[in-house]
Amino acid sequence: MLQLQESHSAFHGICVKPGIQFENQGDDEEVLMSLRAHPVTLVPTFFNTIVLLFIIFISGFIFGQFLKPLQLIYTLIFFYFVTFIYLWFQIVNWYFNIGIITNKQVVDVDFSALSYRDVTRTELSHIEDITVKVSGFLSSIFDFGNVFIQTAGTETNTEFLNVPHPARAAHIIQDILKEYGNTQ
């Protein structure tokens, strides 16, 4: 019997028994693991935000010569708001791009705050192989990488990109497969 302890690590990047639910979840279906990208993948976004805030601050002095005081304040608030929206979009995209592994299936939710959402489901019994790929300097330092789940035939393969501790994630998925994979 597979014993999984509840755990949340890497800012909820990899959670065992995360306590979440999803659409069309079966009555006897239990969410065993959830995967998100490593939070370090958000670092460029935070860096861009700081740079944008700095540029807006500096442009306030430049455009201040051409604008009335109220117009300048409005423009600055507007651009600070735009910068916050940019940051928020990236955080929302990170949070809702999630992979869910249950005792019956693997659900991959691809989400973009602006344009699309795509949900891919794969039954555990259709999974043939799990591959882990870690490449790059940052990936090695912070231990994040891609987990590819290959399925039989023409079904769509599932991929979880930049997940923290990919080897551990693949190991847990394999344990889940051993326990529940042939019971469909």
Binding site: I20, V82, I85, W88, I100, V119
Partner: protein
């Protein structure tokens, strides 16, 4: 020609640009709010409510900025 030169002053371009962009941001934030609400139905987590609330506040702020754009610009 005089009408055109009056129209294309820095102030006019600034006013029209400000109003157009602030309107676009209403559309953008509404789209985000709608997507966050929809994905919240697909994946139900403890923080969904927080994400939806902040997205809604951003929609309200963008509407306020649009209205203020008419008054200030």
């Amino acid at each position: 020609m005089e009408i055109l030169s009056n129209f294309f002053t820095f102030q006019k371009i600034f006013q029209i640009g400000g109003i157009v962009f602030s309107f676009l941001f209403i559309v953008l934030t509404l789209q985000m709010y709608s997507n966050v609400t929809e994905v919240g139905k697909i994946v139900r987590t403890k923080r969904n409510g927080g994400f939806r609330t902040i997205s809604f506040v951003l929609v309200i702020i963008s509407i306020v900025l649009f209205v203020l754009g008419f008054v200030i610009l």
